[in-house]
């Protein structure tokens, strides 16, 4: 595998919300979608996904329903709730602010100070 970055604490939830916001997914599907949208740049242990999924469900940000997958297997599908959608946009905004600030800060040159 190429060099993969460790996940920052707290970012897994946001990634899951993003992945699910693109359409209902089952657990494994979430993992694939994250790999796909991050260009496989992030290392996520497969098992670690589930505690996060259950947490988001318990917080009422996701809802889950059993269905049939593209492989014709039984699977539990997750999709955003209204609260989830709202939280997702808030988190995205705050992440953007943080990352802009971080990027700007790290890009600062001697003459700009």
């Amino acid at each position: 595998m190429p060099d993969q970055a460790q996940l920052l604490p707290g970012t897994l939830d946001l990634l899951i919300l993003k992945a699910v916001s693109l359409g209902p997914l089952h657990g494994y599907g979430v993992l694939l979608r994250i790999a796909q949208i991050t260009g496989q740049a992030l290392l996520i242990e497969q098992g670690a996904l589930y505690p996060a999924l259950f947490r988001l469900v318990r917080q009422g940000l996701l809802k889950a329903e059993w269905g049939t997958s593209e492989n014709n297997r039984r699977a539990k599908f997750y999709e955003l709730t209204a609260a989830g959608r709202k939280r997702f946009s808030e988190e995205t905004e705050s992440w953007n602010r943080l990352s802009t600030a971080m990027t700007a800060a790290l890009a600062a040159q001697v003459e700009e100070v």
Partner: protein, 885 residues
């Protein structure tokens, strides 16, 4: 999330747990299948793909646990899991679990019994409204409350600090309620008694101050609830019935509230009668004479806003007034206020001191038990170091392992605690139902309450945490790789570790207990064979009271004569003598003021002595085997027609006349001016209690000083049971209504020997517990040190070490600790025994037998505890051992 919501979700989570678990399993399986599908598509065969998928997924159990944590209710499920695990681990070593549980059960049981007694006797207030303001009037200069009726009236009417002063005295009467006459105890109480104590009757009514209209004007009785249950079978129609007390008719007007049987907590009377009728049970003078202090207790509630100190000041002022007005009858009259429960300081102080000492000892026992279990746990943790290291290596957190160990500890402590509590509840209930004396209505209400339960549970948890904490450091220091690679990492250390110190402390405690129980046992044994001034063996007592069933003094004297002659003629009876009250009989002895013959002003302060006074028949001294050291005994001719005579004891003779020979033929005076000539001197004896210092006593002839209370001392070598039956039959033939009490003289001393016996028993039991704990402690340590050093010992043996050397190497440390602990304990025990001397007569620690006994006991204990480890060390086969390792 608010509390309620979180609670609901926890409960819901709990209910849905199995459902959720299945759901979770399904989902994880679905994930693995999807992943395997992908891997299969990339060219792997199905089996390989599935295995690969599982490996990639990571620690499934770990994530499941994390998910449970996310779901709430997790702490509970984790707890349940920990508990299940702990049970499983403990079940694997049942010997350890059982030992630990029993050790704790013993220790916690001992603590809850001692605390139960302490709580019931000292901490628990009386079961009357506002018990906190209820005080007993105790004399300032001695721990008693005795007063005369006229003084009581003055105190009641003149004080400004007590709401309504009440008084009562104990009386015995012969009760005839239509069946067999029986002797019953009652409180003769002032009319305001129930109103002042703010009590409500269970049935009928109480009597009031308004029922008192002079002497014998209120023939009413109030039954106690338990007497009503036991003797009237709870018959509600009892109210209004007429019963006969000492042949006088009394009307039952009510039943007292359940649980109330007087304010002296261990003294349970059958009924209450108004004090104005006391003359029908005692002497007619009792309500009139100011110097007749027969009333047992004065008490009352403090007025609102009055402090205890203010009330004492007020009462002392009243006392000074009374003393000024009646100087002839009263000495110094000062007061202090104490609780009536245990008769003020009289019993309150020694009981408190003794119970506090017992509580301290039993908490030391618990501490020792914790020390013991702590070392057991540490030893186990060391033995399990491989398992713990493996778990650490496999990714378990140290916290998780510690939580597991603590769960085990708490589980054991709770099991031990409940077992101990159950046993102690049984014991306390048994003690509550126990009536130690046949002649006295005494029992101790020791039924445990919530405080006892709470204490036991708290103690269990605290001790669990205590001994669970011992191996913590060990676990935190465990280096998994080292342990897995090379076995145990703990090495024998040279310095004295915490475990060793604990063991020494424990052995010392045990030695203290063994010492003090031996001291107590020796003291008790010696006091049973000490010189009471009368013979305890071959002696039977017959007690009755003729005045109770209506004998006039003249007829009583004739009847007594007939009874004695009858008894003396029973085959096997050597002699029978009469005395009005028994030395060491537990009755209130009669004491009298005595003046020198030269004194003319016969006022209290001028008295030369106040000896105990006994009225005896001529045969008594012989029947009781009381030795006459000089002069003569009484004869049938010492009657009303000749000058008054007396026999005195040696102490009195020396105090009044300087020496025994000097006393013969000399005179002394009673307060009423009567002159008595000393005709004989007897040896000193014990009169009021076993531990008393030598005191004065005088004996006067019944023929000159008649008395209606009858105690016949019968000297006979016949079997007491048989003899008692013969006497009973004889007396029944003489008067079928006569209430009689017959017991051996020895049995009758039970009352006197009760405190030292209880002290000896409780110390003995605690001493046994201490010994058991020490044995397990030493055993644990010795066994552990042998098993840890097996290899070393094997090598030593292979190199030619002798048995003695092996033993020294294996057990030397344990034996040294034992010696150190025993020596410390013996020393402390000897110090503590000084306290014992006040309870147990002749308890002295300076007794070679006690010292030898303690040393022997501790040596036996050490031998016993190290026997098995020593055997194990000696049977080491170096070849097998070295090959195995």
């Amino acid at each position: 999330m608010n509390l309620l919501e979180s609670l609901c979700s926890r409960i819901a989570a709990l209910l849905q747990r199995s459902q959720m678990n299945a759901d979770l399993e399904d989902e994880l399986r679905s994930h693995l299948e999807h992943r395997a599908d992908d891997l299969e598509r990339s060219g792997l065969d199905r089996a390989t793909a599935e295995r690969r998928a599982r490996v990639e997924f990571g620690g499934r159990e770990k994530y499941k646990e994390a998910i449970h944590r996310e779901l709430g209710g997790s702490s509970f499920t984790t707890l349940m899991r920990d508990l299940r695990f702990a049970v499983r681990v403990l079940r694997k070593s049942p010997g350890f679990a059982v030992t630990a549980v029993l050790t704790l059960a013993l220790a916690i049981g001992a603590n809850s019994v001692v605390f139960g007694v302490l709580n019931a006797l000292i901490l628990r207030p009386l079961d009357v409204p506002n018990a906190d303001t209820l005080y007993m009037l105790q004399h300032g200069d001695e721990a008693s409350s005795y007063q005369s009726y006229p003084d009581y009236l003055d105190l009641r009417n003149r004080n400004h600090s007590i709401e309504d002063l009440v008084a009562w005295g104990a009386d015995v009467a012969s009760l005839d309620s239509g069946g067999d006459p029986s002797l019953i105890w009652m409180e003769s109480t002032t009319g305001n008694y129930f109103d002042a104590l703010k009590l409500k009757p269970y049935l009928g009514r109480y009597f009031h101050a308004s029922d008192e209209h002079g002497m014998n004007s209120a023939p009413y009785v109030v039954l106690t609830y338990s007497y009503w249950q036991d003797h009237f079978q709870g018959d509600r129609r009892v109210v209004g019935r007429v019963v006969r007390l000492n042949k006088h008719p009394f009307t039952v007007i009510g039943v007292a509230q359940p649980g109330f049987s007087g304010t002296l907590m261990f003294f349970n009377v059958a009924m209450f009668v108004p004090i104005v009728n006391h003359a029908q049970f005692g002497s007619g003078d009792d309500l009139i004479k100011r110097d007749n202090r027969w009333i047992f207790m004065l008490m009352g509630h403090l007025k609102q806003g009055v402090t205890r100190a203010q009330a004492i000041g007020d009462l002392n002022a009243v006392g000074a007034d009374i003393q000024r007005m009646y100087p002839r009858d009263n000495g110094k009259l000062t007061f202090t206020l104490t609780r009536p429960n245990l008769y003020g300081d009289y019993l309150g102080r020694p009981v408190t001191a003794f119970m506090a000492a017992l509580m301290m000892l039993s908490s030391l026992i618990l501490l020792a038990a914790c020390a013991n279990l702590g070392s057991l746990f540490a030893a186990r943790a060391a033995d399990r170091s491989r398992e713990l290291a493996l778990r650490l290596a496999l990714g378990s957190s140290r916290l998780r392992i510690l939580r597991g160990l603590f769960t085990e500890a708490i589980l054991i402590s709770l099991a031990g605690g409940s077992l101990g509590l159950a046993a102690s509840i049984g014991l306390l209930r048994g003690l509550s139902a126990w009536r130690p004396f046949t002649r006295w209505p005494i029992h101790m209400p020791l039924t445990p309450d919530a405080k006892v339960y709470v204490l036991a549970v708290l103690l269990a948890i605290v001790s669990g945490l205590l001994f669970g904490a011992v191996p913590v450091k060990q676990v935190l220091r465990t280096n998994p790789y080292g342990v897995v690679k090379s076995g145990s990492t703990t090495r024998p250390t040279r310095r004295l570790g915490v475990r060793e110190v604990l063991l020494v402390v424990q052995i010392a405690i045990c030695a203290v207990l063994v010492t003090s129980s031996l001291v107590a046992v020796r003291g008790l044994a010696r006091s049973l064979h000490s010189d009471f001034g009368f013979d305890v063996q071959n002696s039977v007592l017959v007690k009755t009271d003729l005045s109770m069933i209506g004998y006039t003094p003249e007829r009583a004297a004739q009847m007594e004569k007939r009874m004695m002659d009858g008894i003396a003629s029973i085959p096997g009876v050597e002699s029978a003598g009469l005395i009005d009250h028994l030395p060491l009989g537990g009755d209130d002895g009669e004491d009298t003021l005595v003046f020198a013959d030269t004194t003319t002003d016969l006022r209290t302060p001028n008295a030369a002595d106040h000896p105990d006074r006994f009225h005896i028949s001529p045969e008594y001294l012989h029947a009781a085997n009381t030795t006459l050291v000089a002069g003569r005994g009484f004869t049938g001719h010492d009657d009303q027609s000749v000058p008054l005579v007396a026999i005195v004891n040696r102490h009195f003779a020396i105090k009044l006349f300087g020496s025994v020979p000097n006393a013969l033929g000399r005179y002394f005076k009673f307060p009423d001016g009567k002159r008595l000539e000393v005709t004989g001197v007897v040896e000193d004896g014990k009169y009021d209690n076993i531990t008393e210092d030598p005191k004065s006593a005088i004996f006067v002839p019944l023929l000159q000083f008649p008395s209606s209370s009858t105690n016949i001392v019968v000297h006979s070598k016949r079997d007491p049971e048989e003899l008692s039956e013969a006497i009973r039959n004889l007396l029944r033939r003489m008067d079928s209504e006569l209430p009689v009490y017959i017991a051996t003289r020895y049995k009758d001393l039970d009352t006197m020997l009760f405190p030292p016996r209880m002290a000896t028993l409780s110390l003995g039991v605690l001493g046994m517990m201490g010994a058991i704990l020490s044995i397990t402690g030493i055993f644990g340590m010795a066994a552990y040190s042998v098993s840890k050093r097996m290899k070393e010992l094997g090598i030593r043996m292979a190199l030619g070490a002798q048995r003695g050397e092996v033993l020294r190497a294996a057990l030397g440390r344990a034996v040294r600790l034992l010696a150190l602990g025993s020596a410390t304990g013996l020393f402390l025990g000897l110090l503590a025994s000084r306290v014992l001397a006040s309870i147990v007569y002749q308890a002295t620690p300076r007794d070679p037998l006690v010292l030898a006994g303690v040393v022997l006991a501790m040596a036996l204990l050490g031998l016993f505890a190290t026997w098995i480890p020593a055997q194990r060390a000696l049977t080491i086969n170096p070849l097998i051992l070295l090959r195995e390792e």
